[in-house]
């Protein structure tokens, strides 16, 4: 290219006019899911957290609480592991908001917004990309658990079913952080708000101990705490005692959150300047 005469190659790409037929929302979303995978490929460091945290949580909590709470760490692990799976993945959902907030501040969203695509597809696509992170984290918890002596009654099928339920619920909870990511100004404030929200939900729960010894007011909270309901469902699945009602209760909050916050996120996204 010499800058004076438009050359032949340039002319050829510019002459190729005409637009392929418009593609649907699903296809748009998949393309953004692909973008999320590419980002993991190019910036694998972002997975450190998803790998290290679950190993640490599982090993530490098993040996810190195990002897005191259940006699032996190994016995405690049978109780703890489903809880740690949930805690790890719920913490990981927070990154959805932080990543989105960082991403939004870059010029590329101007381009996405000027394209004839489904408005929310960049965001939903990124959330689908997070499935990989959640699956990885929960798989690591399970593997570390098995190494330490976790033996689920349900076998491999139960583990897979538990991971599917966990992913579905994580996607639902993800809308909370997506909304925070859209509503707040900086990644730092998204982080702060996310913690304020996550702390009570994960710690005032049945992740570490059964709620039966808790005072009444706290037990009342745990009984409706979505994180606790999910832990209960996972324990049921992994010990092969799950009831449909347990699974249904675990899904209520994520479904509600999606129904309410997805439209809110859309409005916030459109308003974003």
């Amino acid at each position: 290219m010499n800058g004076l005469q438009p050359d032949a190659r340039l002319h050829a790409v510019l002459a190729a006019r005409g637009r392929p037929p418009r593609v649907g929302a699903l296809s748009n979303t998949m393309a953004f899911g692909w973008r999320a995978l590419l980002k993991i490929k190019h910036v694998p460091e972002q997975l450190f957290d998803a790998i290290i945290t679950p190993v640490m949580f599982t090993v530490l909590f098993t040996y810190i609480f195990g002897g005191a709470l259940a006699g032996t760490p190994r016995q405690y692990l049978q109780f703890l592991l489903p809880g740690i799976m949930v805690q790890t993945v719920v913490f990981a959902t927070m990154y959805t908001g932080i990543t989105l907030n960082t991403d939004l501040s870059k010029g590329i969203y101007d381009r996405f917004r000027s394209l004839p695509i489904w408005n929310l597809s960049p965001i939903v696509g990124a959330m689908f990309g997070d499935f990989l992170r959640y699956t990885l984290s929960s798989a690591i918890v399970v593997v570390v658990g098995i190494v330490l002596g976790f033996r689920p009654a349900s076998g491999l099928f139960g583990i897979l079913a538990a991971m599917v339920l966990l992913n579905v619920c994580a996607f639902g909870f993800g809308w909370v952080f997506t909304t925070l990511g859209l509503a707040l100004r900086t990644p730092g404030s998204v982080m702060t708000f996310s913690w304020l929200f996550l702390m009570p939900l994960t710690f005032a729960s049945n992740v570490f101990v059964d709620s039966s010894t808790m005072p009444g007011w706290l037990r009342a909270f745990v009984e409706v705490n979505p994180v606790a309901l999910l832990v209960t469902a996972l324990r049921g699945i992994l010990s092969d005692t799950a009831s449909w009602s347990q699974i249904g209760q675990a899904l209520i909050a994520p479904a509600l959150v999606t129904a309410v916050l997805a439209p809110v996120a859309l409005v916030l996204y459109k308003r974003k300047k």
Partner: protein, 325 residues
């Protein structure tokens, strides 16, 4: 498909951010198939205008028809026919050049083998084949700009917005971008380009709107803008910069116009309407013991146009703004 004569017709576009009147009543008429230059200093409202016309933000008031579509009501249809290369890199820095283009191809309906084919054709045409598998964050400024523009051409739009496409580029990269703009218009795309560089607008644009403080303060071809300022400009180069003050006073007295001190400390210029009087005034300088190294009487540059329109040069303005911050 109808082909309206004007690709853009806007009336009284307004966008305020709190107290900042970023755009305060912009009227534009951009003839289809041409390059239109929007020229203005920092903070004039160029980006805000472009973002409104590209459907990214809704105007607070006013109306616009873009490619025959109403800007507000038919945004969806419009997005299928326009493209935007924003002022700040609108590519994904983590992805490679090829992946960036492939993502946009997928989003716009290319399928299967065509996705990669389109990406590779664009990379080749924009001189980026060697960098196809490098992450965009490792690109030089010029390469990134070319990738950014290529990303806007995955589907060749009927109207392309380029927001300051050459800011920060070296002369060679700037020439490449100019070549791309010319090729685009040659092939039938209308280009609206914003710039702070007067020579860029002069070089590329068929018509130019000069904007300042969110309003259009002058509009026309570059020749018209120059003519509106006066018949020409007298440039004087002095032997000794120390004489400039005195030379300015003397010429101002004789010609009745303000002398403009240029960046070169020994140079000054004045807008003149009568060449004979200019010659007489010039002859006064040696008589007053002010040696002249050279002079010329020519068409005003766009920089001078800007000075005449706003009473400030574009550069001074920037300095003032920086000082104010």
């Amino acid at each position: 498909m109808s082909h309206p004569e004007f690709a853009i017709e806007s009336e009284g576009l307004v966008k305020h951010f709190g107290k900042t009147k970023a755009v305060n009543g912009v009227d534009l008429r951009v003839r289809a198939g041409t390059v239109y230059g929007v020229l203005g200093p920092n903070g004039a409202g160029k980006t805000t205008t472009v973002r409104m016309l590209a459907t990214l933000i809704a105007p607070d008031a006013g109306r616009a028809t873009v490619l025959g579509h109403d800007l507000v009501r038919e945004g969806d249809a419009l997005r299928r026919r326009i493209s935007l290369t924003g002022q700040y890199a609108s590519v994904d820095e983590d992805l490679t050049g090829r992946e960036n283009l492939m993502l946009l191809a997928k989003l716009q309906g290319f399928r299967g083998i065509d996705v990669k084919r389109r990406a590779d054709d664009l990379l080749e045409a924009f001189d980026l084949t060697d960098a196809a598998t490098k992450q965009a964050k490792d690109y030089s400024g010029g390469m990134r700009r070319r990738l950014d523009i290529a990303a806007s051409l995955v589907v060749v739009p009927d109207l392309l917005f380029l927001d300051e496409p050459t800011t920060g580029l070296d002369p060679r990269s700037r020439n490449q971008v100019w070549g791309i703009v010319r090729a685009l218009v040659n092939d039938g795309t209308t280009v609206l380009l914003t710039t702070q560089y007067l020579d860029e607008a002069d070089e590329l644009a068929a018509r130019i709107a000069v904007i300042d403080h969110g309003t259009v303060i002058a509009e026309g071809t570059s020749a018209e803008l120059k003519a509106s300022v006066g018949s020409g400009t007298l440039h004087v180069n002095l032997r000794d910069p120390a004489h400039r003050e005195r030379a300015g006073q003397l010429l101002t007295e004789r010609l009745g116009v303000v002398a403009h001190f240029e960046t070169d400390p020994a140079a000054l210029s004045l807008q003149v309407s009568d060449t004979a009087r200019a010659a007489e005034a010039l002859a006064e300088l040696p008589r007053a013991n002010i040696p002249v190294a050279g002079f010329s009487l020519g068409q005003p540059s766009l920089d001078e146009v800007f000075f005449a329109l706003t009473g400030q040069t574009a550069e001074n303005k920037e300095e003032n703004k920086e000082r104010a911050q």
